[in-house]
Each structure stands twice: as C-alpha cells, then as structure tokens.
Subunit: 328 residues, 2 copies
C-alpha cells in the first residue's frame, strides 16, 4: 500500500514516518511506497525498505495536494496545519492553511472519482471545544471553539464527515489531547509550559511555570499520538457510522500532579528546577481549556494510549527522547 | 439605520421585508434605508416610507456581497441559501452558495475594517443536527449533520462565532424550526408534506401524506420566523457571549396532532382531503430529523414564537395567507 503524509516534517509527522518505516506495514498490509510532504522538504528516513518520496510545497496553494493525490495513495495522513498561537495572530494564514488547504485536499481526492476512496486520517484537536465545560466532556458535547485554530479544525471535521457520507473518501478525524512531553524547543503554543516543566528539568535546565499548580489539563504522550494515528488508519470505517470525528483517550492531570510524577521518577533535585513565575495572560488563556474527557467511543473503538499515569508520560520521554538517561 | 437583506426574494425574505416596511423601525431605531438582494431582483414593496434599493446578483460570486456591504449597512440579514434537497443533489452548488457565498460576505464586512461592525443575522437550520438524538435536543448537543445543507449551515455558524469573537462583526445565528405552514407551491424540500397537508386541504385541494401519523417534528409559523429574525437583529450582543448560535423555540407535534388541529379549526371535511400514500424513501429521510428541542437559551434571551399550539399555526396560515377564509 501507498501511504502519503501531509505535515511529515512536524514533530508528530516525523515520529509517524519513523514508525511506519520501522514497522514496514500498516495493520496487516505491507507499505510499498511512502510519500512525505511538508512546506520544507521532510528528511527521508535512512534504511527504509520501501521507496520514499519527499516533496516540499505550499499546502495552502491550489494544486499542491492534487499533484500528490493523483498517485492514488491508499492512506493519507493530514497533519498539516499551523499551530493555535500562529493561527490566532495571523487570521488569513490560519484560514488559508488550516481550512482552505484541507479543503483543496478533500476536493483533490473527490476529483479523482472513479471509485477512488482513500482512508483520510485528519489530526484534529481538543481546541474544537470552548469553555464553559461540564466536569467531563462527553462524546456528544458541542463544539464552541474560542480560537480561530479550533474553529478551523471544527470546520474540517464537518467537511470530512460530509465528504465521507457522500462516498468521496473514507475519513476519520481524531482530536488529539495536548501532546506531553513535547520534545525539542518551545513553539508558539500557549500550552508549551505543560511540556517545558518536564523536558527542561530532565535536561538540567530551569523551566518557568506560569500558572498555578491546580490547573488541570488533558494529556497524551507523542507515542500515544502515533498509536492513535495508526489505529485511525486501520479501523473499519463501517464501525464508525456517520460520526467520523472522535475525542481521543488521554490522561487528566493537574500541574501539581505533573510535578509530583516528575519528582517520583527523577527526584526532587530535578523538580526543583521549576521556577514559579505566574503569568496572568497565560493563566487566563488556559482557564478556557478542556480539563477532562470521557472518550468512550474512541476507547470502545480500540484507541489505546501508551500510558496509564503521568509517571508513564515522564518515563516515555526519558526512553524515547533521552536514551533512557536524564540529568539528576 | 440602513438594513440589508440577502435572500430577500425568498418566502421569509419577503415577509421580513413587508414587516420592516410596515414597522418603519427595527427595535427603537428608525429604518432610513432598505437594500434588498437576491439572485432574481426582489420586488420593492409599495408605499415604503424609506428609500428601497433592489439588487440582483449571484451571492456565490466573489465581490457580490462586497458591492453592497461597502455602503456600511447597520444590520445585515443573511437568508440567502439553496434548500436542502438542492444542496444534496448538487454538491458544488451547495458549497458555493451556502458556504463560499456566506464567507465572501463575512470577509467583505471584515475588509471594511475601520471600526465597522454590523449586526449580522444568519438564518441557520435544525439540519445542523443529525440522528440519533436524545428525547429533547439541548442547547449543548453536538452538530453531526446528515446532509450537505446541514454541514454548510454548521460551518457558517462556526465562522460567524469566530468572526464575532475577533471583533470583525457582531453575528447572531438562529436555527429555525421547519416553517409550517409554508405558503405557495411545494419546493424541493423533503419536509414539504408537513405544510402540504394543511395548506392544500384549506384551499380545497387534496394533499398526499407520505409518512405515518406518529412522525413527530419541530415547527414554527412564518410569523414566528420573522419575529425571531427581528429579535436577533435587536438583541444586545453582550448578553450572548461567545456562543452566537441559538436553536429557536418551536412546537413539537406529530402528524396525527397536525391533522387533529386542522380538523378542530377547519372541520373533518377539510381534513378528509388528506390522502395516505406511504413513501418509504421519505419516511427514511424524516426518521433522521429532530423531533423536539429544549430551546432554553433562546427563550431566556427573549425569542418568542407567535403560536402556542398547532391550532394557532393553522389559524395563522388562514389569517396571513387566506384572508381569514378557507374552503370548508
């Protein structure tokens, strides 16, 4: 089978690519070709058993997606998007990439016609939800995003459901929790501190905590995110019915519980590298974010997180990113 | 104040125009100019006290909305759309008018900038909801439309909330119940029979009932629809907060209750003009439609239906469309 990834140069895209190359298959089917796409040319993985094409172009430009879709890939991962902070700052750019780009992709698939109906896996976000929330957000809670990013994701979810219903493609949208621990450098996301306070201390650096310890949020490790994408690519579409977008399982933890987990796994000296510097602006943004979900449908459909506790999330970061070691 | 209506030649648009001309004001403000737009030139009402412009152009074409928005109307009603049946038959046309046209309008308003922030009243639909439903659909139930029309309305709702949040306009979306009794000839809507079985017998004609009498649905009279639009135009946006789209009050009735109301108001001879001709296709479509809502937010915000019972709905039709008389 031929797998195409839009947004392959991003953090999740690279991990997904690595996993597909290392597995050599998706579900029971052998991967015979891999095409990677991003606005910068994604690095082709070394030692891949299958041919790998790597392409750079502007996802938001008409025709970009169509040029790759014409090869009729069997599975298409759409991870391409700009992050929430950037979509909020740059209104036109957000709509252009996160909405119009995705729509070009959907229409490119539809234009092939001819019975072509690939599985499209779309990475959505819990940003489709906006406060006030119930204690736990159920699978039937409505979408009232409070950011342009969340609005764009919610619109793409609606489009994917409608294009699927019409038989133009076979789409699945998955709402990823906030990814923690996010490796690498901080990006423009206001959620950055959730990862910073774990990642930086483990590498011997100080980290700033801008919110109070009772702030609760919904997390999943990068390893879980890849698991969710693989499950979404492989699931029987008939089991989903017309409701094609799913809140993914995750782990609800307060910042205090995050710090306790770090202390338990790496010791108090590491946790002492967290500096409290309250930032009312970030506190206010974060107070509008979801805290806990009941992701019953996704669980029933076989979506499984790689972690059971926040300590697992800390350990996964140490194992997957730090070669099993940290700066004590 | 200057009022602009897109979709002014449609059934609701004409009733709204008539009401605005007859009131001469909207809330406490005097109407000093009225601009009517549709794909065919709307008939300008006779004896209007204010200047009335009537314009025909394609709502789906870039620039159409902008040419009218440049006059900075204070209130814009967006009733322009193609109906569900047509949007389902013609995928491209549906997205072009119901989504792209609306987006052109939003962007035309935003492009003025300069503090211009009109009230935009958008007519949405209960088609944003899709089965299976709870017994009553609450204000927080999620949108899983089962038609392209419903998808397009749900997307426009999201856009209106986001453009409002960003301060580009001051939008209110109202989800109208199925309008009953719809005057005039049947259109392409599968919901046509809900009106046909009242309207046709009252005019001495037979009507076909394609579903069973236990089918329950959510109705409002054309008079209520106009009341809802006027309230949406006048409401203080601050009382709405960021959730700008509201399910309107309505009246839940089974087809059996509709027929009983017709019998009570007009007598058994009129009701006997209804012919039962079950149509499994229409039955199947209608079984996916909402039956009852709890429109608590809208009620608390002062949206009020003109009728309390289905008998009222029958009487409103006789009064407003038949000059108080029917064919006994």
């Amino acid at each position: 089978m031929h797998v195409l990834i839009f947004g392959a140069a991003g953090m999740i895209g690279r991990k997904l690519t690595h996993r597909l190359v290392s597995d050599g298959r998706l579900g029971t089917r052998q991967i015979t070709k891999l095409t990677l796409h991003d606005v910068v040319q994604p690095e082709a993985p070394a030692n891949a058993a299958m041919p790998v094409d790597s392409v750079a172009s502007d996802f938001a430009a008409a025709g970009s997606a169509a040029r790759l879709v014409v090869a009729r890939p069997d599975v298409i991962f759409c991870l391409a998007s700009i992050v929430s902070g950037e979509a909020e700052e740059n209104f036109d750019k957000g709509y252009s990439i996160n909405l119009d780009g995705t729509r070009f992709l959907l229409d490119a698939i539809r234009a092939i016609g001819d019975g072509y109906k690939p599985r499209l896996v779309f990475s959505s976000s819990i940003a489709v939800f906006g406060a006030p929330f119930p204690d736990k957000i159920s699978d039937e809670f409505f979408n009232t995003p409070l950011t342009s990013y969340g609005t764009q994701k919610a619109i793409c979810e609606l489009l994917i459901a409608d294009y699927t219903r019409k038989g133009f493609l076979d789409g699945v949208g998955i709402r990823l929790p906030t990814i923690c621990v996010r490796p690498g450098k901080p990006n423009k996301a206001a959620s950055g501190f959730f990862s910073n306070i774990i990642r930086e201390p483990l590498s011997g650096h100080d980290a700033v905590l801008p919110v109070s310890e009772d702030v609760m949020h919904w997390h999943a490790s990068p390893r879980s995110a890849v698991e969710f994408l693989l499950r979404a690519a492989d699931i029987d579409g008939a089991t989903l019915g017309p409701r094609r977008n799913l809140s993914m399982p995750g782990l609800s933890a307060t910042v205090g519980e995050q710090i306790a987990a770090l202390t338990k796994v790496a010791g108090p000296k590491v946790a002492a590298r967290i500096r409290r510097e309250p930032d009312p602006a970030i506190n206010s943004i974060v107070s509008g974010w979801p805290r806990t979900f009941e992701a019953r449908r996704a669980q029933a459909l076989g979506f499984k997180a790689a972690e059971k506790t926040f300590e697992d999330i800390v350990r996964i970061h140490i194992d997957d990113e730090l070669g099993g070691k940290f700066v004590a």
